[in-house]
């Protein structure tokens, strides 16, 4: 059908005017182009509208605090003094903890499912993993409150304080007091939430690596592990990175589950066991009752900051992907 359409398009003499335009629309190609272009432009418009709204509505806060908003460590609605530093810190730390836990876990699972497990088992397990990705975040929050928090307070926390806590340098990350809620707990809950994304996407990517690549490696005398590590993984590198950054984006913006287990204290503390707060959770907590104009404006600016962080991290991801590709990762 498309062949016929192109033939007609080629035979028709170039015409102008509305009639010709409508006739050309009838051939499908033009119409599809127009529709997809409109939708694609819509996404762009939506994003810029979002930034525009955040920018306009945060005017009061931006003009009062300026760049200091990023460094100020106080969030005091009562004295109209607002700084985003504790929340930026909390957002980055919890997301980093989540990735440190989720990336090895997710990647190992994906390798097992795509390279080692029989296809039938792999398919049924990945169906379950896709289900995990659809669980609402408040459920993960409850899981955190009822299981992770008590475990952290009674077992894991004291264990970390008494073992790693005494190691120089890293020890500062694991100092008391230990309440059960805090950065580490939030990071663990986030890791559980984002791991399905990493597994699911990485497995799909690994499955698209051509069979010939593996066979060639094996033919050259590589073991199964060597072929996976040196041939399959480098081939799928870009896709795996993509899955990790999808997980990161999810972790940065997560609200409900984090609020329930992070302790909600606007303080910067080097210990991962201490309570903190993130940008998304602060906005969710305080937006409804924010009465003052400056207060509201500062909360909206927090939204803008979160957008900026996401933007910068995504940009860095792009650069990283380009750099690794240039390094000749993918054999052609």
């Amino acid at each position: 059908m498309s062949a016929a359409a192109t033939t007609i398009a080629h035979e028709a003499p170039p015409q102008s005017g509305p009639r010709a335009f409508i006739r050309r629309l009838g051939h499908g190609d033009e119409l599809a182009h127009l529709i997809t272009l409109t939708f694609a432009a819509g996404i762009l418009l939506l994003t810029s509208l979002l930034v525009y709204e955040l920018w306009i509505n945060s005017h009061l806060s931006r003009s009062k605090f300026g760049w200091m908003f990023f460094w100020t460590r106080v969030w005091d609605p009562n004295f109209d003094n607002f700084g985003a530093a504790p929340f930026i810190y909390g957002t980055l730390v919890t997301s980093a903890v989540a990735l440190v836990i989720a990336v090895p876990l997710g990647l190992a699972s994906a390798i097992f499912l795509s390279e080692l497990a029989p296809r039938k088992i792999s398919d049924s397990i990945s169906f379950l993993i896709d289900l995990l990705a659809a669980v609402p975040s408040v459920i993960y929050g409850l899981l955190g409150i009822f299981i992770v928090v008590p475990l952290m307070r009674t077992t894991l926390g004291p264990m970390l304080i008494h073992s790693v806590g005494n190691v120089p340098y890293i020890g500062a990350l694991f100092r008391g007091p230990n309440y059960g809620v805090g950065f580490l707990t939030a990071g663990i809950v986030l890791a559980i939430m984002v791991v399905p994304y990493i597994i699911s996407v990485s497995r799909e990517v690994l499955l698209t690596v051509p069979r010939e690549q593996r066979e060639a490696a094996l033919a050259l005398g590589a073991t199964r592990w060597e072929s996976t590590w040196k041939v399959v993984l480098p081939w799928a590198r870009t896709g795996i990175m993509g899955s990790i950054f999808l997980a990161l984006a999810r972790a940065l913006g997560e609200t409900m589950a984090v609020t329930m287990v992070i302790g909600n204290a606007a303080r910067i503390n080097p210990s991962l066991l201490s309570p903190g707060d993130t940008i998304a959770s602060t906005i969710a907590n305080q937006f409804t009752e924010a009465t003052g104009d400056l207060y509201l404006s500062a909360l909206i600016e927090l939204g803008l900051v979160l957008f900026l962080i996401t933007f910068i991290l995504n940009g860095m991801a792009r650069i990283l992907i380009v750099l690794t590709e240039r390094g000749g990762g993918r054999p052609v």
Binding site: V74, W75, D76, P77, N78, F79, I145, V149, P150, R153, P177, Y179, G180, V181, T259, M260, G263, N264, A265, A266, P275, D277, S281, A284, N285, Q286, F287, T288, E289, A290, T291, L296
Partner: protein, 341 residues
């Protein structure tokens, strides 16, 4: 693009006309405080059953949101757990009247392993604990008021609300009144403050959950929530120096005490009110009604509802563990209804 917008408007218009024709129902939109939401939804429901032509739609989006929507003119009236400030009233393009509806109270709840009895909290002790200047449970300020209780030498874990809340407003209003230190360091009553110490929990359930889970912790929750969920709470020292356990009678007593000095606009804080039986951490919650309402049908509906709420409506309070308004306040409010024009 413009055509679609036009079509949408036309459809909306048709829907509005159809809605208006179907029996001339007066539809009122309101938004605001979450604390009185259970009693408000009960009232609006019962009132609609009695007056089928009046329907009140209430969104419990929080006091801050209620005030903002009222100022923006997107709702017919608002509701708030704290009275509007002079600055907020100044921003309004129209006059706004406050009507107290019910009373609530906030209580301290704690979890100390080995301590089962009710603890007494002096005003100084509560302020000190939440400021972080009292850090141990066996501090003399706490132990002095609890002779015979074996308090442990353990660090106090403070739990506060993480979300902006009317409960925090009442709690900080009390602390600011009884402690100068609090007033200078943390400030006046507010729905969220810069807490000197502690962990935050979302909602009453978040705070009580954290307290239940964390040994040697203390938090504050609404009386109604504590009663409904059988959560134990402590006694608080009132302005007369007596330790009072919060109950509905003590809260109404606090309101009756303040009725004598009630300003005409009803914007009054009743925390730490004088009187021996008064529970000191109590507060009104208010409906915010525009002083001028152009639409006469809406105006009559709101006035009718207020008159009903002050008389028959109050009977529903105690079933839902809200304290009733004292007689003096009801009489004063009934007079104020005529101010709505």
């Amino acid at each position: 693009m413009r055509k679609t917008i036009l079509v949408v408007w036309l459809l909306l218009g048709l829907a509005a006309i159809a809605g208006a024709r179907s029996g001339g129902t007066v539809l009122l939109n309101a938004a605001g405080a979450t604390f009185p939401y259970p009693i408000y939804s009960k009232w609006f429901d019962v009132y609609h059953q009695k007056h089928s032509d009046i329907q009140i739609n209430y969104q419990s989006i929080g006091s801050g949101g209620g005030i903002r929507q009222l100022l923006a003119g997107t709702v017919d009236f608002g509701a708030s757990d704290g009275p509007m400030s002079d600055e907020q009233l100044g921003q309004a393009k129209f006059k706004i009247l406050h009507f107290p509806t019910v009373l609530g109270a906030v209580v301290p709840t704690y979890n100390i392993p080995g301590v089962t009895g009710e603890l007494n909290f002096t005003q100084k002790a509560l302020a000190g604990i939440f400021l972080g200047s009292i850090t141990k449970w066996n501090d003399s300020e706490i132990a002095g008021a609890n002779k015979g209780v074996n308090l442990p030498n353990a660090d106090i874990v403070v739990v506060h609300r993480s979300d902006g809340s009317g409960t925090t407003y009442i709690w900080t209003d009390f602390l600011a009144k009884v402690s100068n230190d609090w007033k200078t360091k943390v400030g006046n009553a507010a729905t969220s403050v810069n807490w000197p110490v502690g962990l935050g929990g979302k909602g009453n359930e978040g705070v009580s959950g954290l307290v239940k889970q964390t040994p040697n912790s203390i938090g504050y929750i609404e009386l109604i929530y504590a009663v409904q969920n059988n959560i134990a709470y402590g006694k608080v020292q009132n302005a007369a120096g007596k330790f009072v356990k919060a109950d509905l009678a003590g809260v109404t007593a606090a309101a009756a005490e303040s009725a004598k000095t009630m300003p005409d606009d009803f914007r009054v804080s009743i925390t730490n009110a004088p009187g021996p039986n008064v529970y000191p951490i109590s507060s009104f919650t208010w409906l915010l009604i525009p002083g001028q309402i152009q639409d006469s049908a809406k105006r009559d509906a709101i006035k009718g509802f207020l008159a009903w709420m002050l008389t028959e409506g109050q009977k529903y309070n105690e079933g839902l563990t809200y304290a009733q308004l004292p007689k003096e306040v009801i009489a004063k409010e009934t007079k104020a209804i005529s101010l709505i024009q």
